[in-house]
Subunit: 251 residues, 8 copies
């Protein structure tokens, strides 16, 4: 439930148009809804500014589909991350208009409900080609929440001139998400060049002593550039959410 | 060099008041300054919106004092973090008006140059009493960069009603820094309640399997709340810098 | 062999109804039984209050089936944890009435022998939907040992109001098993609200720096709430066993 | 505030002897008390059955003394763990009757308020002599909460007959706390012999690949005996709290 | 080449029966033999008392078969460990009499060449049923080098009476190999009961915080029993080799 | 673009044969080329002395093929490492003359462009047969950059005489790459015998506590022989690149 | 109590010279002796062939002295390892003839009771000079149990000819203890040269990625030489004990 | 012994001027020299091109002094790394002309014997001021072996323009040693800009999740720039030795 809907309901109560009992009933349903295996948090949009997003990994296709249905029924945009094709097949059965981006591994629906939130620009930068899936998860997430996203892919420090050629793009961004695996040095280099907030996403790209992204994670946490913050390995979704909250900031 | 000073200089060049050679000379000096053991980055304020800050750990008292002197001479506010009393003694010799906060371990000077940057509120929350030194480093940092800071100490999840009693304070903040050691659960609980950006600082408070803050760090990185970002263990300074950049956001 | 059967046998010896040699023979058999690859510990029920449970992982289907048969023949309820469908197929061949719960991955048989042990309530709480398989292993285990189990699923700290809505259920429990992955914060929050023993089960739910449950494990071990105890990652069975022993406590 | 005091107050309100305003005032104070650097949780006793305990490590002597004073003033028994002599010196200044046990590193006061809670026996077992300080922390904690404690020291598995000689003591216990460093095997051996709950405390005793107690911690978490639960390294206090909650169980 | 063959050859040279050139040629071949991808160390038997053993993991079936052929041609017994069925298929093509034990994953041939080495007894003890494959690798290794092996399976500390019932077997052994996963406590318990050398083999049996055998490995390295030595995780072969060398000791 | 081509172009500009605009256009293309998902760094050869090499892991077959095409079109030799057969199939579609070495997992093309770079010898030594794939990746890499490579396989320290028999080969090398898994001791032994640079490559060969090559990596980093340097686990390509740069050294 | 004393006592009982009651009394005392904080295991000599040894670390000087006194009174040789000068001062007060080796950190007494056990030779080899303290702990331990010890110090693989010059010494040993830090390669090299059992002791000698001996420990566990066994980091005592048990072997 | 001295001796033998016995005697002494606790490897210079260097950590002052004396007596330059003032005091007693650099922690003597080895330039670059001690260890080492060293300090990626301002210096180097702590990104950035060999030295500079240099070490091992090689944490000496060997390369 969007904040605007809530206000309307309460005003209607204040004006005597909606009896209190009816309002209570309506609000109770919007608060959270029990599915036995899950309690859908319809209240989240009100509390956090974003509707609930489904983390599909570890859930059965049937569970994802069932939660997705409730979210759509409640009038929210649908975003399910870390979804595999089987999750999508189950969702599509009840929501035939749902889309699936196999690169980003996200299921989306109700795109017409997406409202443009701010005029700020979220820039997503990757060190290499292999980091693109995580970057795309971030991009899809931000787009579903109405943000303008730009991307700059494969500009890692091995050929740092590729980054400098794009300096303009860096300077136009309002918040930057840096996606990098291996030694994750790009986060520090970008962070040292700009004055806007930089969110670093380590990826599991690499081998041997990259330990599935741990090396990039540690490098980013130890950035010599002040003010770079970090999210979990491969967590493009989380980085996008943090960036969205920053863009919401009215200043 | 503040952006405004730069503009003035360039306008003066444009109006023919300052010859090009003189301007070049002036700008070169502001760019960076070599001390043999350090290259002071006077350009940082222009590039990143903040003057260079001295990380004192691992530097000799003489080195810290020498860099501090250059920064003050360049007309910037002085902030030296992770400073011990010997660092302070050396700095005070050339900068008698410098202050030292032993809890936060920061040296500051030129406070009169601090300019209020925005009307946003940075809230710093700690889980326990032992997390206060890290929180205070964040507070001093933000204050030196002209922010309004509020604090909420010792409201960890063992007695979660202490946090809920302060819900108002949480909702009034524009950005929240959560400082917690041990299992670091406070970041998730706060993150689940608010819609503004939350930056989590794990602290080395704890013993045994807290591994000097690693447990809190990992817990915060794995927060089930979307959009919590994390900085290095005990890095109150870095969290404050990230929060300042967010508050600078014009929306 | 239940304690009551043992008493009967010994009384029979005392009354001269059973010759000593016959008793020795009978008791020797109940002590442990060698299968070549395993020594079935029939004595365990007497010593620990619970019959031996088969940990199926790493055993061949034939081994599990063979041990299961001996346990049933000895007159105990059967519980085999971490069983896959092939284990079940092998067991069912000799024990056609055995059941298999694919979610909990447990094989059970001889349910009619289950005796209700106490009037206490074991509450099992999960942070998310993906933690339910581990919770169900705990539930099946406790039920096979005659306990009353209640569950509260998907009440993690990202939407903490979902937990508070169920406060009544929390306060009615005599022992609580908290099952959570990711940052495992739920254990601390629940532990801070109740006065009964809380057993925390970290799960391997999560990705990246969750390290297959290690983050949740460490967070739970470092809980700022006194008296939370912890079992191995995904060890729903062990948590249930500990909870059962607590419920047996006569006070 | 003990539950009995609360009941009295509420009955007094019900009988019209205490005006509502007065009761509210009284209760508000007992809920939590702000000291600036700490929020003393007077409500904890009501909520969890135990008054707040001070974890002294990381707090200044002045902070510990200040919190201690508030707790005593509120009419609770005082227990401060992980206290060093300087903490004690500060506490003694305002609470001259406080005691200090340097082995257990605990400060106690108000012992006359200790009420015997149950008739159950808590047995504390150590593998070696070096584990005794942690065991003593557990013992002092339990005694301050009115429990009967027995101890069995230096009965590790290198000379397992020492344990078997004491079998009687093991069988008489209602809950057992096993304290062991190095390979932590004693927890499994004890757990395999008894039917009551066993709480394992890994200690930092050992060297080399004992990693400050991590080896013992891991070994205990992987115990092949079902139902052994574990607390943090050297956390004698936490083990005692868990054991106390188990002994409170009415059955 | 056995030491006896070498002596014969040298005596033959000394007696003028074998010309020096012929001897050199013969000896050169026995030293090592190049296969391009491997240098077969025929000299090993002379130097270490055991012929070269093939570690099959990471080698192609063709490579294993080719090395096996050279070893057999050189007149040594054949032992290939960590072999899978494809390795075996390749070996059998050139050595039709080779055997394969799928439990132990070893290929053997030339069993008729096995010479009984000493009258000592190697006892192999396992904690559980799942440890048997590793134990069997140890057993097959020792048997190929002519030792008498006895086994005691599934006598872990959860039911420690199972071990004590077999005390006789323990006391008759000349060297004991203890194979255990999970918390690996059995090594300490056995080590505390006997006076002969004990070699501990951690296995990857377990889950969660057993970390693929690391917990058992660490526990065994930290055994409180003096004189227990340890080999790599799942290294039944190595333990058997160490035990064989001990049994060779003439005293 | 080779340095010689660049010189030609610039001389042509200087001589007025090529108009500036035309030269700019030509150079811009050689600098880097955007493919959307990748920015091909044609400038690398000029900057680093080697054309860009494709790291295939984590890239789709289509991406590898597309980058490969651009590199070949730009007139460089093609080297794609960590390629699987599907990568090769895609590449061969547009570059029918490309070759694939399944052992080394590299795709190569344009071998006729390989220019012999120096008269120095790169020696690649492996400890065992299982280390050969990594050694071969190094060998193919060096050969594509025009070096003379020699190899010495399976000369690990278990039979150290195998190494000493080849002392001549060691002493003739100008740079040595030592490839070893397990305990990685060969790097120290070789490093202690020669005076030329030694580059150590740990491999993931081993099991249990070899942790996928981490043990070999750590051992090599801690070599008691001064001047051994190390690359990432299984990084035969990187070791060869470092060795090539050393051989380029003119002295 | 030595086995011979026990035999004498039992024969005396058999011959009627010692009444049963008297023998029981005498034997009970020899079994174990409670000191409150420790249970001295006098029975150990009988069970394991060695009297109890005091591990001083973590024990107070008074505790060490008290246990030492009991051991001496019981007629055993005294060996206290990991003792610091304060431990020694306390012991010397009651046992004025006790000796202290500050390099090996061992206290010894009753040397005249040492009986020569076998004619075998224990060789202790170190990689460097810094490994000598651990080697000396092993040496003192073995000497107190009557063994003949030889040493070979500073023969690490950086200058492997130093080892080969001493080949004779290697071949004369009956069991070899290899003590090495850093990359621990010496254990593999020695193990590859001899046919007797080799026990590897990793030491905490090194820095950076040696992780206090973990690298050497892992390297030794992964030795490519079959039959090398390993003890805990810096555990010279344990290695000596294992070697003594091997030397006791009658063959 | 330098190679030239050896040649002279052998020629003298060939010319009949030196009797064979006398030569043997002379050479034996130069090979290695036993000090009981150390075997000085005088042969190293011949074998590796560098005289033995003393690693002082873990050695007593007396031991260092004794080895130093032998090296000087043998006519080699003296270099002792990781020396503390007490080591120096001991050395100066027998070698009054020895020098000590407290920043680099090295003792040197016999500087007049240093021979200039090549005309190549070794450039040492640091990310920050705190990395200078490690860089200086590298510098002193290289200078003692006759190299020309240049330095570039405090040019880390937080202000990457500082590095680019020094591009000329980078391009003039023949080999580059990059010294960096924290996230170690400088190694990749430098490696991406130059064509000469780059050796990366991680330092223990940093805090929290820098883990004493492990983060920088891992980042450097995972550099996306091909051909960067790595040495142990803080190992300035080792990096210099590797760089020296590279500069020796004749091309």
């Amino acid at each position: 439930m969007h904040e605007s809907s809530l206000k309307k309901l309460l005003e209607s109560v204040a004006q005597g148009k909606t009896p209190v009992d009816r309002a209570v009933e309506k609000l109770r349903g919007t608060f959270s809804e029990e599915l036995g295996f899950a309690v859908v948090d319809h209240h989240r949009e009100l509390r956090q500014g974003f509707p609930e997003v489904i983390f599909s990994e570890g859930k059965t296709p049937a569970q994802v589909a069932s939660i997705a249905k409730k979210i759509v029924k409640n009038g929210s945009v649908l975003l399910a991350t870390r979804a595999n094709p089987r999750h999508y097949a189950a969702v599509r059965r009840s929501l035939p208009k749902a889309h699936y981006d196999p690169l980003a591994r996200v299921i989306t629906a109700q795109e017409h409900l997406v409202r443009k939130r701010s005029s700020g620009i979220m820039l997503i930068v990757t060190a290499g080609t292999s980091d693109i899936p995580v970057a795309t998860e971030a991009q899809r997430t931000a787009e579903m929440f109405g943000r303008e996203v730009r991307t700059l892919f494969d500009v890692g420090v091995a050929g740092i001139h590729r980054l400098f050629q794009k300096a303009e793009t860096l300077y136009e961004a309002d918040v930057i998400v840096v996606v990098a695996g291996m030694e994750g040095a790009l986060a520090s280099v970008v962070g040292g060049l700009v004055r806007v907030p930089v969110i670093a996403v380590p990826t599991s790209v690499g081998y041997g002593a990259s330990f599935g992204g741990v090396t990039a994670l540690l490098a980013m946490l130890n950035s010599c550039v002040a003010g770079v913050t970090v999210v979990n390995i491969d967590n493009g979704f989380g980085a996008a959410m943090a960036a969205c909250k920053i863009l919401d900031r009215k200043g």
